[in-house]
Structures are given as C-alpha cells and as structure tokens.
C-alpha cells in the first residue's frame, strides 16, 4: 500500500487490472454491441467486433412485437411499490431494534437474515394456491407483496446497521427537551437516517427489479415485468440473437444507468452497511 512501486511494476499492474476489468465486463459489452447488429452479422463466424454495419432496427422490432414500455412500466411499479411498502414496515421495525434493543435483538436479526437463506421454492406452492384463491395471481398487488417480503429481512438488517450509527446521546438530549418518541423519530432521527434509507431504497429497487423466481412463476401478462419480457424471448425465438440482445439490453439499461450514477450509495447498500 505505502510501498513505492517501480515504473515497470506500475505499468504491469495497470495492464493486468484493465485486462481483468475488460474480461469481467466483456459479456455485457458483447450483448450491447450485438444488439446493434443485423441478425446476419450476429451469426457471422468469425464474430464481428465493432466492424459491422450498425443498426437500431432490432430495437424497433422488439418494441413493436412485445411492447417493451408496458413491461418496463410494470418493472417500475413492482420494484417501486415493493420498496415503498418495505420502508413502511421496515423502518419502524429496524428503528425499534436499533434504539430499544433487548438481549435477544441480535438473535432475532440473525434469524431474520437467515430466512433469506431459505429457498423461496419452499413456499411457492402454498403462495401459488393462496394467490389463486385471493385472485392475486398476475396482479400488481400480489407481486408487490411477495417482492416486498422477499427483501424485507435484508431491508431491516440494512436499516438497522444504519440506525445503529446514530448516536444515542442525541436521543437523550431530545428526550430531555421533552420530545416524545414520535417527535424523536420525525424531527431527530429521520433527518439523520436519510442517507441510510436512500442506500436501502436503491439496493431494494435493484433487487426487486432483477427478481426472477417469483415474477416468472406468478405472472403471465398483466403484471409481468422485464424479467418475464426477456424470458419470453429466450424460448420460442431463441435463435434471434440480435433481437434477444436488444431485448436484454433494454431490460438491463435502466439498472445499468441507475447503477452508474449511484455507485457510491449502492456499494454501501450492497455491503449491508456492515462493512464500512
């Protein structure tokens, strides 16, 4: 770290770093550039790398054939709804664990996090039956609830680690000044908790956006988000690589852009606030 590196060593390190980064990123890059190829170029052997005729035709075909914007809107509704609901339930829960802990709080938290390790498959059948009975199959509300539940443990855990960083003395001071619990939350805690909440929101939007198990199993058309949109391209028309790439690029584009601009908060979110 503090050791001085020789010039040649630095050059080698830089080169290796960039080769590694390129290798890791290559699949995404390949997908994006293929989406601008004609179907013929997509199949060309040896593969063409940037030296092909660029076209945006795939994108218009994909939109015409399967209405990308409807799926994208569903993705926004589902991930937004699930995250909002998660905040509504998660903030109070995390708050009470962070500021009114009992000696079992840590156990409860770990247990909650461990339920995230449970395979979702285990509850698929009862949920499926329940949803048919409630008429929630392929509806926004049904999907929002299940996505929200899937991420709730992670949300509470994250919010908890953020809330714990808020110094207790501030609460004491507020209490001395006669603040009730409610006022404490609204005027003292909330402003300090905003950055943590923002990171939690970002991570949860991304997790819900990418969730495939529930969205593939519990939707058909009305509430189907982008994951279902790509999956529908993979099966019957599996050999149209350029169009498939265009569809995939469209599906990941919002998240890639969001991820690019919010990397810092996201990294904090991805590490569950546990790694500082």
């Amino acid at each position: 770290m503090a050791r001085r590196a020789t010039f040649s060593r630095r050059v080698t390190m830089t080169a290796i770093t960039w080769v590694l980064a390129f290798a890791i990123f290559f699949p995404i890059l390949w997908m994006i550039q293929t989406s601008f190829k004609s179907e013929l170029d997509a199949f060309a052997l040896p593969p063409k790398f940037f030296n092909f005729h660029w076209t945006t035709e795939n994108y218009s075909v994909v939109q015409d054939r399967s209405d990308y914007f409807r799926f994208a809107l569903n993705s926004i509704i589902l991930s937004g709804g699930a995250t909002l609901l998660g905040l509504l339930v998660g903030i109070p829960a995390a708050w009470s664990m962070a500021f009114a802990p009992t000696k079992n709080t840590k156990q409860v938290l770990l247990w909650m996090l461990s339920t995230k390790m449970m395979p979702a498959t285990g509850v698929l059948i009862p949920i499926y039956v329940l949803y048919q009975w409630l008429g929630w199959f392929d509806t926004h509300i049904g999907l929002i609830i299940i996505l929200f539940l899937g991420n709730l443990p992670i949300m509470i855990w994250m919010l908890y680690t953020y809330f714990k960083e808020i110094p207790g003395e501030i609460l004491e001071a507020a209490r001395m000044d006669g603040a009730t619990r409610w006022k404490e939350i609204v005027y003292v805690l909330a402003p300090m908790a905003v950055p943590g909440i923002a990171s939690t929101v970002l991570l949860n939007v991304i997790l819900s956006w990418n969730e495939a198990f529930w969205t593939l199993n519990l939707t058909t058309t009305t509430a189907a988000p982008l994951t279902a949109f790509i999956a529908s391209y993979s099966s019957p028309e599996g050999l149209f690589w350029a169009k498939l790439s265009a569809a995939s690029t469209l599906a990941v584009a919002p998240i890639l852009i969001l991820g690019w601009f919010s990397q810092k908060q996201l990294v904090r979110g991805l590490t569950f606030g546990a790694v500082k």
Partner: protein, 305 residues
C-alpha cells in the same frame, strides 16, 4: 356497566398507562406489521407446504391423504438424488465467490490509472438480472454459435458441447452464477479494504509480517464483517440456482443439471403433482435448516467471544 364507573378510568388510566409503558410498547407496535406479514406469507406457508407433502393433489380435484408415500417415491427417484448432488455442487462452488472476490479485491486495492472506471466495470455484473446473465452465458457456450468454440477453433481445439453435455451442463450454469457473485464479493472486500486501518498493517510490516502471514493474521481478521456478508450472499446466491437453470438448460439434458428447486417446479406446475412437489420443497427446507442452524450457531458463538 354504568357510565359513572367507567368515567374515572377513561380520564386517567389509559393516559398514564401509555405514559408509563410507551417506552417498551412503541417498539412492540412498530415491530408488529413486520411480524404479521412475515407470519402470513412465510411461516404459515411453510407449514402448509409440509402438510401438503402428505397428500396427493393435482391442484384441482380433492386432496387425497397418502401418508409418507410421496417421500418413499422421492427417495427412490434418481432425478431427486441428481438434484441434491447438484445443489451441493452449487453450494460448494459458490464458496469460491468470496475466495476469488478477495483475491481480486487485494489486487485492485491499489492506485493505478483509471482504477475508478475499472472498479465500475467490475461492479456491473452484479446489478444486471440473472435472466440476462443466463442468456448471455448460454449463448457464449452454445456449441453451434457460441463464442467459446469460435475462440477455441483459433487454437485448433475441437468444438465442445459443454452446455449440451450431461456431465458439464451443471458446471456451465454454475459458472454463469459465479460471474456476478465474484464481482459482488469483490465489492464487499474492496470496501472493507479501503476502510481498513492502515497503521495496523504498517506496524505489522515493521515487525516483519509479509505475504500469507500478513494476509492471514492481520488483514483477514479485520475483514471479518465483509467475509460474513460475502458468505451469506453466496449461500443466498447458490439457492437462486432456479433462475439460471430454468433460463439456461431447463434442468436438461436428461435432468443432469436439475436442482431441487427446479425439480419441484417441474413436478408441481408441469406434471401437476402438488403433493410430490411439496415433498421436494420440504426436503430442501430440512437441508437448509441444518445449514442455517449451523450458521446461526457459529455466528452467535463468535459474537459471544
């Protein structure tokens, strides 16, 4: 009940009770919504699933009690053992995520030109959907049109049918899963490394700690929170195997790349055997419970130290 007898209660009791007890009642009230939804959508379905595994049901006609026969059939089912075997492979292979992630992070934790952009490139695989990961990798390994065979042909290697091969399909799918997992773990460790106390490392260096010793005794202990999260997310990731299997291979060829989650899906929704599917889910649960119990136990023990 007369009004006069209630009146003093109404005026004073609820008020003071609330005042006296709000410090512990408020947290309970705040935890309540989480507990309620959790019970309805997680705890109850788990028990329903277990109950259902003792029935024969096609989803439409009345359920028929069959006792343990779903289980006896399951334990005699070759596909089931294949699936369990593959699940174990997934779990083991995913433990490579933290290892590779740490290696990459140690390497990237330096100041080279454009390191920030390089880090961003490492970061992207994690944020994209598993469905897309599955598609891209499936295409890369496709024996007819895949890039892999094209690359190999330049070195004079015969085309390989890895994703279509009975012995190799699972590993191709696992590789696809590891791609975002490694980058995730790398981010975790990188964040941990950046925040690490440099003085301790310098001090250890002065005392002559180098290489493996430095890593094992000085750096790794400080990265313990990162390791904890990395292992947790890797296990979670290994269990998401369903997404990739259903996108890349549909459990094939000949069920060789199936996992318990996918087998359950197949039996339940394609063969309409809800009870049999529930039995598979229950087995998956029991396996995970053992794992989780072990995990919780070791975490709490560590915490107590």
């Amino acid at each position: 009940m007369s009004i006069t007898s209630l009146k003093p209660l109404n005026l004073t009791f609820p008020d003071t009770w609330w005042r006296r007890n709000q410090m512990w009642v408020t947290p309970l009230l705040l935890l309540l919504p989480a507990a309620v939804v959790f019970t309805i959508f997680v705890i109850i379905p788990i028990f329903q699933s277990i109950t259902l595994s003792f029935y024969d049901w096609d989803g439409i006609n009345p359920k028929k009690w069959v006792g343990f026969s779903n289980y006896t059939e399951l334990f005699g089912d070759e596909v089931f053992w294949k699936a369990i075997f593959n699940n174990i492979w997934w779990l083991f292979a995913f433990m490579l995520g933290p290892v590779f992630g740490l290696a990459l992070a140690l390497f990237l934790n330096q100041n080279v030109r454009g390191i920030r952009l390089a880090k961003s490139l490492f970061f992207f695989p994690f944020v994209i959907s598993q469905v897309v990961v599955g598609l891209v990798f499936g295409w890369f390994f496709n024996s007819q049109f895949g890039l892999l065979n094209e690359l190999l042909s330049h070195f004079g290697v015969e085309p390989l049918a890895l994703i279509e091969g009975e012995n190799t399909a699972t590993f191709v799918v696992i590789l696809a899963g590891l791609w975002p997992q490694v980058s995730y773990c790398m981010i975790l460790y990188l964040t941990g490394l950046t925040a690490m106390n440099g003085e301790v490392i310098e001090a250890a260096r002065m005392d002559g700690a180098k290489g493996w010793n430095l890593l094992w005794h000085i750096i790794l202990p400080q990265l313990r929170p990162a390791t904890f999260i990395a292992v947790v997310v890797s296990v979670v990731g290994a269990l998401r195997s369903f997404d990739l299997v259903s996108i890349m291979t549909l459990g094939g060829p000949y069920n060789s790349s199936t996992v318990l989650a996918y087998m359950m899906y197949e039996q339940t929704f394609l063969n309409f055997r809800y009870g049999y599917g529930a039995a598979i889910a229950t087995v998956l649960f029991i396996i995970m419970d053992v794992y989780i119990a072990f995990f919780l136990y070791s975490m709490l023990k560590r915490e107590a130290r």
